[in-house]
């Protein structure tokens, strides 16, 4: 189930003329899945092409035995713009796409969330961080698979305090996302008996020199430095912290960071860093088996967390479709998602799990420590597990999210 660029261009040309794909889809019982992801922006490496490869892998693993229906995978770049993402989703849904997958960047995810609900299709989210997707803005058409801000904050905040890091200082990107991460993590730190000694908020975007904030952190004499930011800002903070020798007196905790960021940062700068993910390729035999299957197609890299989430979500969706029948699944996104919630999940990336009424997929969160160069045995051997938060505790309790679906 691979798609050539030529096919995509042809599909584009056909789309321009309108209507045709819909007729084709109805004729031959095809489930069409669209991967909407970041192919050109800051999250390309952690989502992007990897998400497409893993979605295709899920289709391949599912169709292995022959299923009596076809699955087609499309892809598009949302450029991290909510309006672009919403536009692609709207157009795809109007032209016969049944489910969209991935949707990194919270703003894009929330926008597409509305469209999927309006058109009664399926939204399988892997890449977005916002816990609003299963909270105030939850939708009967959405499954939020991989992680969210609550889980990151809980796993990193609470687990670090348990291991002795009981005084914190935050360096925070001064906008809604940074504030939310800092607030949530701080709450878990306090709930576990830890203290927050202070914070430094820097203008976002437009800050490249973090030395003033790092010196403030150093002067606070906190045991843990929490980085409530993402991507290049986080990497710059970690590099700066290393240069100032902060790692000798403090533990660094990145509140949103992935295996690809660590790889690009390098073990020399990154060693000792604490971070949370829900998937790591070297966790167990099943994740290693999946990695072996995928690696040749994925530029010889093991899958990252968000693409792994695309794999799990797509596989479970296809199982539900097979269970309820293609026609019924195509007719109603709500019914398809309800079937997904009713069936227990089991896949190589995340093992066994369930999907809650609010659309939240439940699986454990892992707190990792980045290995030292001496401990690492191969180029992608980057993490060791420090703590595991079981699925029931890792995510926000059902009643606290304020999801209207739960009340009814």
């Amino acid at each position: 189930m691979s798609i050539q660029r030529r096919d995509l261009l042809a599909a584009g040309a056909v789309t321009a003329l309108g209507g045709l794909p819909r007729a084709r889809a109805q004729g031959t019982q095809t489930i069409r899945i669209g991967v909407i992801t970041d192919m050109s922006g800051p999250y390309r490496d952690t989502t992007g092409p990897g998400s497409v490869v893993l979605t295709q892998q899920a289709v391949q693993d599912f169709l292995g035995g022959g299923r009596g229906f076809q699955v087609e995978v499309l892809q598009a770049d949302h450029q991290n713009k909510p309006d672009v993402g919403a536009n692609i989703a709207r157009q795809w849904f109007d032209q016969g796409v049944d489910a969209v997958v991935d949707l990194p960047t919270s703003s894009v995810a929330l926008a597409v969330n509305q469209i999927a609900r309006e058109k009664n299709k399926v939204h399988l989210n892997s890449g977005a961080a916002t816990s609003d997707l299963t909270g105030a803005q939850c939708s009967p058409n959405t499954v939020h698979w991989t992680y969210d801000t609550y889980m990151l904050a809980k796993s990193t905040g609470a687990a670090i305090v348990k291991t002795g890091g009981d005084s914190w200082f935050f360096i925070t990107a001064d906008y809604a996302f940074g504030h939310a991460l800092e607030r949530d993590t701080g709450n878990f730190v306090r709930a576990q008996g830890g203290r927050v000694l202070g914070n430094a908020r820097y203008p976002f975007p437009a800050t490249t020199d973090f030395s003033a904030f790092l010196l403030q952190a150093q002067a606070s004499r906190a045991k843990v430095l929490g980085l409530a930011n993402a991507s290049t800002d986080t990497v710059n903070c970690i590099k700066g912290a290393r240069e100032f020798g902060l790692h000798r007196s403090m533990k660094l905790a990145a509140l949103l960071m992935g295996v690809v960021d660590v790889k690009s940062l390098g073990l020399e700068s990154g060693q000792g860093l604490l971070l949370t993910e829900s998937f790591y390729w070297d966790l167990n035999d099943r994740t290693r088996a999946l990695t072996q299957r995928v690696r040749p197609k994925n530029q010889d890299r093991p899958p990252a967390m968000v693409p792994a989430g695309c794999y799990g979500a797509t596989l479970h969706y296809l199982k539900s479709v097979a269970d309820m029948g293609v026609a019924a699944a195509k007719a109603s996104g709500v019914e398809a998602v309800n079937r997904m919630k009713a069936m227990p999940c089991d896949d190589d990336a995340f093992g066994q799990g369930t999907i809650r009424a609010d659309g939240r997929k439940i699986h454990p969160g892992y707190l990792f420590e980045v290995k030292t160069p001496g401990e690492s045995r191969n180029p992608w051997d980057l993490y060791k597990v420090v703590a595991t938060t079981p699925g029931e505790e890792a995510f926000r309790p059902l009643a606290e999210g304020g999801c209207p679906l739960v009340r009814s």
Binding site: S40, D77, A86, A111, T130, Q137, Y175, A176
Partner: protein, 332 residues
């Protein structure tokens, strides 16, 4: 009216014989092009995806508003995203939180953009050239950071789930086709308004300022007043475009106030042709179509966009429409 149409612009030398056949300030060629445009607007939704067409029309209107400033007054504003985006935010807020009907929400958005344009224009028109561009950019960046922080804009997430509502409270706009006719109406109305502005005596003064500002001053025109009014009109129309867009898509986001949007509108206008009536429409069509239908190619979209921009600047200095007009020796 005949006197209005004999002005000579840098982009195209009009043929007096052809202009004689025009009407309502249009040359004969422009009337033909307008006819094609109207036919296209009427037929297109039955052949192409209406939501895509609505997006195209919103950007076309935005580019026309921008062209009013750069093409006819010679002012390069590098902060037009601020008016486009704020129009969108206020319209979205009005429709979602205040519960206004879509036409009122769009008016709220347009008026807000106009007020913002009044302030920005009042400051910026005191300087010329690169300084003017930098001041408009600086003010637009202030608006951007306001939008990042202000509670009502929703920061990164933007204003989402803006209802389309019912036109005048009676005609529901949920159907894409109904919405399309409204957008097409707004576009055509604003397009004709811009044309009227350009070909009014006021527009003639604007063109004289573009050609030689000191001479216009020496003839007794208060050029600052003329420029300020043009700035406000342009901002208001840009706000209308942004407001319409947010009602169509149900979303208003930081993308629309970001400086790259200001850059995109410059690109659209350049590709289509500066100082031509139809250029910005064609330019917007080219860019939006590319972004839409090449989305599957990921990172290549921006590369292709860059190549087209460079090609345009090197080979088609006058833009697509400008070149065609020069080739046919007509004014478009």
């Amino acid at each position: 009216m005949a006197a209005d149409t004999t002005s000579i612009t840098a982009s195209a030398l009009p043929d007096p014989a052809q202009e004689a056949g025009g009407a309502w300030g249009f040359t004969r060629a422009q009337l033909g092009a307008l006819g094609v445009l109207i036919v296209f607007l009427a037929v297109a939704p039955f052949m192409l995806y209406p939501v895509f067409l609505m997006k195209l029309l919103c950007f076309a209107l935005f580019a026309c508003a921008f062209n009013l400033l750069i093409g006819y007054v010679g002012l390069l504003s590098f902060g037009h995203a601020a008016y486009f985006g704020m129009g969108g935010y206020l319209a979205g807020h009005a429709a979602k939180v205040w519960g206004l009907t879509p036409e009122l929400a769009i008016i709220v958005g347009a008026v807000t953009a106009g007020l913002l344009g009044t302030i920005a224009g009042w400051i910026a028109i005191r300087r010329q050239g690169i300084y003017f561009a930098m001041i408009t950019l600086a003010l637009a960046q202030m608006v951007y950071f306001f939008c990042v922080q202000a509670p009502f804009t929703g920061g990164e997430d933007g204003i989402q789930a803006i209802p389309r509502g019912s036109l005048f409270g009676v005609i529901p706009l949920d159907q894409d086709m109904t919405m399309y006719w409204l957008v097409a109406g707004i576009f055509l109305g604003a397009f004709l308004l811009i044309h009227r502005i350009i070909h009014s005596p006021y527009g003639q003064v604007l063109k004289s300022i573009r050609e030689n500002e000191p001479r216009a001053t020496s003839l007794g025109y208060r050029t600052d007043d003329y420029k300020l009014l043009a700035f406000i009109l342009s901002a208001t129309i840009a706000g209308t475009a942004g407001a319409t867009k947010s009602i169509v898509f149900g979303i208003a986001t930081l993308t629309d106030v970001h400086w790259s949007m200001s850059g995109e509108v410059v690109l659209m206008t350049l590709v289509g042709g500066l100082g031509t009536v139809f250029g910005p429409v064609i330019g917007a069509a080219v860019i939006v179509t590319m972004q839409n239908y090449l989305a599957e190619m990921g990172a290549w979209v921006t590369v292709i966009q860059g190549v087209i921009f460079v090609t345009c600047v090197l080979a088609f200095r006058r833009g697509l429409v400008g070149e065609i007009a020069a080739m046919l020796k007509v004014k478009l």
